[in-house]
Every structure is written in C-alpha cells, then in structure tokens.
Symmetry: D2
Subunit: 340 residues, 4 copies
C-alpha cells in the first residue's frame, strides 16, 4: 500500500530514513529541514522538498502523517510552528530521542486539537539505512496501526535475525523489527531503557578490555613510594594482548557476541591503541532518564547507574571529589599525593 | 589432517566437543569419564572409550594430546593421576573454567617433565555442538600451533559472523573463532575477562527489563506510611510492557542486539513472568577472578563489580548489612521498618 | 531577645523543637497539630495550643513566624489552608524534608503575597532535643537574619564540637550549628546532600560489618554443586567477631569514629544479631533527590547511588532482574538454580 | 605495671607510639630504625636506641616484646633478620598495615620456634600521639593479655568517647580503645575492614561535596552541541555554597558528624577550592584486601568497591575504557567526541 509521509529533520537519521522509504518504491516522501542544503541533497535523490513547514503540510493529502526527526531540545519549537498548519486527524510522529514524559504532555496538548501523536523510539544509527530501524511505538493503538506500512518498510524485517523458537505462534510485529508498546510515552520509555541497557553493555566491554589492556602491569617498574600498593604477584600480569584479535575471536561462538562487539572489533582493528580518542564520553539524555526512572520506581539498577556515572567521570567531573579525598588523607595521615 | 585427541570429562561440554570432532570425520577421539554411563553413551556414538586414565593414554599414539574438560576444582586431581602415564612431548590441554594463575603453576610443574601444557578458555555452552566453540589459547606457541586442526574443527569458523572490514588483510585465526592469546595463562585470562564481561552484559539487560517490568507502579495503591517516598508522578508509570515482544523487537536493527538478547527473548516467550525461577543467581569463579584482576591491576571496573555483587545479594547475602541499616535508622530517627 | 514562633506539626521532630525553644526561656511558642492529643500534650508542658490554623495565626503578633514541621507530602496542603490567614511580611519556615525544587516554587508563590519563605533543612532526629538541631537555611538573607535568636536556640551551639583550627577568625554562625546557605532552596539542597551522604556513610559501615559477620564462612560445610565457587582458602575465614565490641573499639582513636558508629555500637550491644529487624530498608525522598541532582549536574556519585540502590534491593525489588539472570544462565549453559 | 617494649620502625607512627608510651612514665622503650637520624631523634627524647636489631634484642629482658611498625612490604625482611636473635616465649607484634593472610603464615612460622606472634591493627595516624591509638589485636589470647599494660597506655582510654548505654555491664576492654579480636589474623582482618569502611565513608563525603560544588552549573553557558544533554532546569542549579561553612555546620547536631568530617571542615577552611591537590588518590592495600574478602565471602559490598574503583579512576586508569566507549559511539552513531 502506498503511503505519503512528511519528514522534518534531515540529519543523519532523518535523511537515511527517507532514503529507505523511497528505496522501497512504496512510499512518497515530502521533506523539510531548516538547512536548505539538506533539503537539496534529498531532493536530488528523488524526495519532494518543501521550502517551509507550511508548504510541507500543503503538499501532503489529509489525513497527514508528519514525522519529526530533530534533536530532543528542538521538538517543542517545531511543534509550535507546525501545529497551526495541521488539521484534526493528522498524525505527528516524534522519532527522536525525546523524554517519554514530554510525549505524555504533547499527546495531551495535540489531542485538544484532534491531532494524533505517536512517540516512536528509533534505533539504528548510521547503519539503519541498510539494516533497517528498530521501532518502538507509543500512542493511540489505532493511529499506530494506520501507519503500519511505513513502520514495516523502515524496520529491518524478520529475516534480520534467526527466528526465536515458538515465535511463529506468538504472532505480532515484534519480529519484523517494530512494535506497538502501549499508550503515549510507551515508545520513548522502551527506547529510553534500551539506551540505558546500551550504556551498561558498552561499559561491560570497555572495562573488560581495559583489564586486558593493563594485563602487562607486571612488566613495569613498580613505584617505590609508601603510598602505592606494590603488585603482590607481578609475574601474573605479563601479558600483551592483541585486543583486535581478542574481540574478533569473541564474535564467533562465544556467549558475549553482539553487534556492539562487532563494532568494537572493527574499531580496534582500525586503531589498536585507540589513540585517536580522548576518552571524554558524552551521555545523551536517555541514559540519565533511565537512571531517574529506576530511582522513581525504586528498582535497583547499580550496573546501569555505574555506567552512567563512569561517563561523568570520563569528562573530569570527579575531580573535586578526588581532591576532597586527597585533602582528607593529608589531614589524618600526613599523606602526600603521588602521581602514578 | 587427521588427528587423535584424548578427552577426559564427558559432561555437557566435553561430550559435545567430542561429538563435534567426530562429526568432522577428521579426528579420532579416545574418551574417558569417571562415570561409566557417560563413557558408554559416547562409545555408542563412535568414540573409543577408555576404562581408565591409564588405558586412555595407552590408546593414544605419542606425542599425545589429552584434553581435560572437568570442573576447575577437579583439574589438579586428574593431573595427579594422569601425569605419571604421560611422556615427554605429550600435550595436556585444560579447557575448563580454571583460574589462569593455576595455569601458570601447572605449566611449570608439567614442564619439568617435558610435558607441554595449554590453557584453553572454551565458550559455547550447550550450543557449542552446533555453533562451534570459541577458543582462547595460552601456552607455548609451538604447541598451540601443533593442535591447529583440532582447534579449527572445534571453532565456529569464519562463516559464523559477517567479516569485519579490513580483517582479510590482518590474517590470523581469530576470525575462525580460535586464537592463540599468549604464553601460559593467557587463554584462561582472556576467558576469565570474557566471563566478567558476560556478567556485566547480563546485568545490563536484567536491570533494564526490571525497569520495564515495574513501569506500572503508578497503577498501584501507594503505601501511606511516612517511611516510604510516594511516587511524585504516578501517571508516568502506568505501562504494562510485554517483555517477550520488547526483547524480540530489539533483536533487529537495534544497537543492543546480541546472542544473550536472543536467549532472553526466547526465555521470556516461554515464560513471560519467569515464575519458574527463584532468582538465586550463582556465580562461577571467573566473575570473581575478573574482579580480583581489576583490583590487582588498579583498573576501575565498577560495572563488572556491581554485576558480581548483585549476584551475591540475589542469594540473600546482603541481609545482615540491611539489618544494620535498619538498626541505625531506628537509633537515630526512631524509624520502624515497613514491608513494601 | 524574646521571640514568638508558631509551630505546625507536633510529631517527633516538631514537638521536641518546641520543647527546646521553651526550655531556653527566651521564646514563646504557639502550636498546632491536626491531632488534638498532640496539641494537648505540648499544652501541658507550657506551650500555647491553637485549635485551628486560623487561631494559631491570630495568637501571633505580626510580623509572624510560622514553622511547618510536617511530612513533605503535606506541606502544600497546609500552606493552602494557612496562607489566607497570613499577612504581608509574615514568615513561613518549612523545616521538613521537602524537595528543594518545591522551595523554589513556594518562595515564588508566597512572595506574590509579600510573605517571606525560608527552607530550613533540620537534622537531629529523636536526639535533637538534647543535642540541638543542625539547621541549614535558605531564602532571603534578611528574613533569615531576623530569626537568628530562634535558630541559635534550636542549634547545638559551639560547645557541641571541638573548635576547628582557624575557625575563630572565619566567623559566621556555622560553628553554632546553623548556617544561612543561600537563596531559596539552598537550605533544603544542603540538607538533601547531607542525607545523600548519610546513605553512603551508613552503607559503608553496614557492608563492612557484613564482611566481618561472614568472616566465619570457612567453618561451614561447602556446597558441593558445580554452580557455586568453592572457597579457595577456607582457613582464612574462620573468625567469629563480636561486632558490638568491634564497633565499640572503633569509637576511640580510629579514623572512622562518628555519631552513626556510636549508634551502631549501641544497637549491636542491645541485640548482637539484629534479629529484631527484617532488613527491609526504607528510603526517604532525599537520598533519591541527591541521586537526581548528581545526574542533572553530571557529577559522578557511584557510592551514593550504590547505597540508594542497595536499599531498593533490600526490599526485594531486585527480584525480577535476578530471575532474568537465572533464565539467561539456564538458556546458554543449562544451569539450574541452587539455593545457598 | 612497668613494662619493657622494643620498637622497630620509627616513622610517623612508630615514633609517636614510643613517645606516648614514654610519656605515661610506666614503660621503658628500646628503639631501632635503619635510619640513624630517626634513632637519634627518639634517643634525645629519652628512649634507649639500639644500633642494630641484635643490640635491640640484647637490651630487652626475656621474655621480650618487640613491636614492628614498618611498611607491610618490609615485615618479612625484618623478621628474617630479627628472628635468629629471639628466644622461645618472646613476643613479636606487627602493628603495621599487613595483610591478615600474612599474619596466619607468620604466626605459624614463628610458632615453630616457640615465638608468639600478635597482629595488631593500629589506627590513629598523625593524631595518635594525642588521641591515642585504636588497637585491634589478633593472636594467642594469653599472649595478648600479657601485653595489656602496653595496649592500655597506647589506647585512647574510656574518656575519649561518651559511654554507650549499657556498656558498663558488658565489660571488656573495647571501651578503653583496644580489643582482643580473635586468633591469628583477626586483628589485621578487623583493621582491614576498618580501612575498607573508611574508603566508603570518605567517598560519601567527597561525592556529596562535589554535588554541592557543582550546584552552580545552571549559571554557566550550556554547551551547544548535540552530544551533551542540556540542563533541563538551569534555574535549579544556581547555588554557590561555602563548603567550609557547610561542613562546619554539619559537625554539630547532624546525623553525619564524624572525625573525618572534622578533618574535612578543617581542610576546606584552609583552602576552600582545594587547589593544592591534584586529586590523584592513592589506595593502600587494605581497601583492596577488603574488596577481595567481600568477594571470597560472597558478601555484596557495592559501596566499598565503588569507593575503591573511584580511586583507581582518579589516577587516570579509566582512560582506555573511556576510549573504547568513544570508539563504539563513533562506530554506531558517527558521534565525535567533544570536550566539556
């Protein structure tokens, strides 16, 4: 079934989603971005570019479906400009990394005008064009169902993974790679937790690789001051591991095989010492929101939270705390700091 | 090239490894287990069963290769019985979950007799027969090389995962699913860290799913005592997520796709509430040893350690600490405990 | 200087604060509680009890000072009833465990009517009557200053602790045990972090004592299943520590002496095995809010957060996550759960 | 009762302990240090200095008591030199920060020669001379009892802290500030856990103070790249807290009053921004050993371990892990690192 979709926001994610929709030959895309060059680029690939939000709405036949793929902080601004042009029964989809609590509010606000709002958590990154996008959908079920052909085209499809035993009988769209998760906010809630898990999984690999990376400390001259514990058994830490090979071998047959491991193996093959990176790791809102949700629910999430706080520390935000520790040690024991 | 291998220990792992070797049609296996039934079972599938360690050694042509696939705690006992029957240049392989520090000692002890010792971390679980085993090998490089045909057959092979870009030029056996990691202990060291990572990855999924599981707390009647923080926004926690579907949808196109996620989706499809489990989670030595290595190296591993300690708590070992907290609260604030 | 204070909320905290003010002989207290018995009790000790909020306001000479010592969840309700009776230049003090963000809002709302609002974090628990209350004050500085005599009486006074070297020159009221911390919200912010620290300190003692408590595991018969790591050196864990004595000895001369340790020593002396407690540990809002503040500021606080999540787990909220782990282990390794 | 004690090791701790013993007028000290200047210094204060270990032993009347106050790594070397000069029934005390497992071994080795060995965890730092030393004693009970007068003089004494209610009836020496904890290793075990707790308590303060320190982030210009979560409510983070005052006010009447807080208040008064410290925090063996003990006992200690790992990170040992995270983010999302 042919469908028409308006896409606002033509960054890495939005433009590739349009490309995937167009490639299918089943859908027509009208696109807009405040950046004219981004509009032109997609126009040359066959999309119809609108020069304004107004024009984008005009070019879509009602009831319209308009997908926002803009930074979380820009959604309300775009909605403020876009909404006056929309009519009752139009659908707005927020596919960005918005806080699910905002989805609750927006669904209510737009609902007053008869506009339907879907929050669609979208995972896939720069790889989504080829692999497809994993879609987690929240909002009115009927509305979600009406966009099924769009979701199906964007999603990776069943062939993207081996079938889970017994899944055939269970039915549903999950194994197509898109899922109606529940009422407003449910899509972004599931995406939020997805990203929270991502932080934990990434940290697990990173810490493990760091332990392998330092497994040669027994070869180094030990510090000789009283402030540092000497290594009890240096002979146990004299390994020089080739991490590109180690991550490669784990990709086959091991319990920890994953797509993130595939990427890690690739990165380490390119640059074994990762010297091109500073190690200042950003954190998007979703890792933080997951931690907040855990706290509000009273659910212990020590691993996810440790992963989040580790990122804060990677940016040097632990410095004052560390100075407090040094100051205490100096006070009670006369300890003077040493470098390592 | 045809090879001969003696296998000691015919549990879930050892017996399936023998089956995989035999299926290849390239290798001959002589097997032994202290349990006669286990010996018989494999004999009926075509292996040659020895009735004693002595006989196993006799049936192998020197230089022999004997693979131990027994619990970590049983390795020294088996070696004690086995070694007198072996000759110089024979090879002993420990494929179990042994502490890598023991490998250092054993390699030295056996080396005095001219016997070569390999420590081979083996991942694959009950799925290894079909998927192949991921092998992490430590010991003398020459010895490791001499067993290449065995390792190649046990390993999953290159086709088991898409090729990492640029890998072809890099060469080596890692993409076959087996890897020479370094001198004695290196194989079990890498396997140890592998399992440490596994703990962290598992915990990340488990915590995230728990946050989804409790996302309906806003529907419940709030506790009315002063000891419990009321939920500030119950309207934000009224979701009933179908976790079997959520984990299924994440398997395609998402950043957190992994083999562990595949298994989780399968487990949740079988039993959505996991009511068949008590949640008393065991921990093998390797998670602990990873934590010890991190501490000895001075490498921060807060996520891996949180995952480990969480397992201790799952078995109730946090109880006394919690009572201390309650006692303190009672002392300073007159707080009386409430259930939840 | 004599002052007059209205106190609303005569629970453990509020009634003892009134007692401390009355004992000083310098202040006059008009008190109210929705519970008549609580009013009567204090009236018999010399306070003037009002039968309604209206009457409480009437009995105070303007400009009035009304202190609220009610649960965080009740503050807005009381303010809603109280405010219409107040006049411009009256002062409302919230001394409870309110979220500092609410103080920002309330100060603004009351400010529209010319009413001054102070947020005063109050620590001291059931011991405050004798020891005095540590007061952390936020709001307009002039307003805070006008209540100095009240704060001074409630606070412990300089003699409550040895003088910090150089403190005399620094001046200020901090060493009296009360402090103007900054504009609206500052008082409850500081109190919030105080309680966050408290969680961490309590957890440190609790975990350490648990390690001592289990230091006799080497005496026990080891589990004999393959799912549990046997203790490598049982001979190292054969101590039966008398925790009441250990905590007592730490109270003198050690680095970890503290008031919380004093209370712990007392609790363990009363009941060495703490069998009267279940170990279901509540958490008030402030531990949670501290964690939220850390996350919003991007400040790593792994210890404080671990302490918070530990309390969640103490109430069984980790159960579903643990079942997910067990289900994964069963899937990949055929592991069956064992009790401990 | 007059006693005689040999002291080996005249650093900060050992020399002050000798001074405290001499000041009491009850004990005679023979001292030795490999550093001659250290010997001379104490000799001028009235101690009898020996020029060699041999001479030290000679000058003591049997049965002798020789106290070692040397770095953990030096104990075995000193014992190797000292032991040949000792006789059966002499007593050796290790008062340093040794691993309790070494005490088990040393007690056994010395026991073969009839020499009694005590492991005495000693807390007090540079303040012990005035405050007294908290002593945690392990070894044969009879031996420990024979040195009671020495311990009593070194310890702070009952007056150093208010009496715990009901303590009088309980009896024992704990409230004097020294305690017989159990057989060999028990003293150092208790001291080890003491230091583990210390790490956790210190971290709790440090993290809390860091949250206060950064409570002005809402005043700063927000970063404008897509990689950083903007602060949702900058108006909530506009506080400039005077931390020297905040820590001072907490010293009186609050729940978190402690000796470590006293020291922190003092350090912050001296230098409010702690700019004299780098924040590279060392960790002695005992924090690590506590973590190992927790793991071996299977006791969850997430707070103590987070505190330990935080110190590792303070020395930059988290860097490679952080680079792995950045590399992963670059791979899956095209994310480029930004500074903060």
């Amino acid at each position: 079934m042919d469908m028409q979709l308006g896409m606002i926001g033509l960054g890495r994610m939005g433009s590739n989603m349009v490309r995937r929709l167009m490639r299918s030959g089943q859908h027509q895309c009208v696109v807009f971005d405040f950046n004219a060059a981004a509009r032109r680029a997609l126009e040359q690939e066959g999309a119809r570019a609108a020069e304004s939000l107004d024009e984008l709405v005009e070019r879509l036949a009602p009831p319209r479906a308009v997908w926002l793929m803009v930074p979380a902080g820009a959604v309300d601004g775009v909605l403020h400009e876009l909404t006056p042009h929309l009519s009752a029964d139009d659908i707005v989809i927020d596919g960005g990394n918005s806080y699910y609590v905002d989805a609750l509010r927006r669904a209510e606000e737009l609902g007053l005008k008869g506009i339907h709002y879907l929050d669609v958590g979208t995972s896939g990154g720069v790889w989504g064009l080829e692999r497809g996008y994993c879609l987690m959908i929240g909002g009115p079920e009927q509305t979600a169902r009406s966009l099924d052909p769009i979701f199906k085209t964007l999603a990776p499809g069943r062939a993207a993974a081996p079938r889970t035993p017994g899944r055939k009988q269970a039915g549903g769209t999950a194994e197509e790679g898109y899922l109606y998760c529940g009422p407003s906010g449910a899509g972004h809630f599931v995406k939020m937790v997805h990203n929270g898990i991502e932080y934990g999984v990434m940290a697990a690999y990173a810490e493990g690789l760091n332990i392998l990376h330092r497994a040669n400390v027994g070869k180094k001259e030990a510090a000789v001051n009283a402030e540092t514990t000497p290594l009890a058994h240096p002979e146990r830490y004299r390994y020089d591991f080739a991490l590109a090979d180690v991550t490669e071998v784990w990709r086959r047959g091991s319990v920890i095989g994953s797509w993130l491991l595939d990427l890690t193996a690739s990165a380490l093959l390119d640059q074994p010492d990762l010297s091109g990176y500073t190690g200042h790791v950003a954190d998007s809102g979703e890792g933080r929101w997951t931690a907040l949700a855990a706290i509000e629910e009273g659910v212990p999430a020590p691993v996810l939270c440790a992963a989040l706080h580790q990122r804060f520390a990677s940016r040097g935000n632990d410095e004052f705390a560390a100075k407090v520790l040094s100051a205490m040690r100096h006070q009670f024991g006369g300890h003077v700091e040493h470098g390592e």
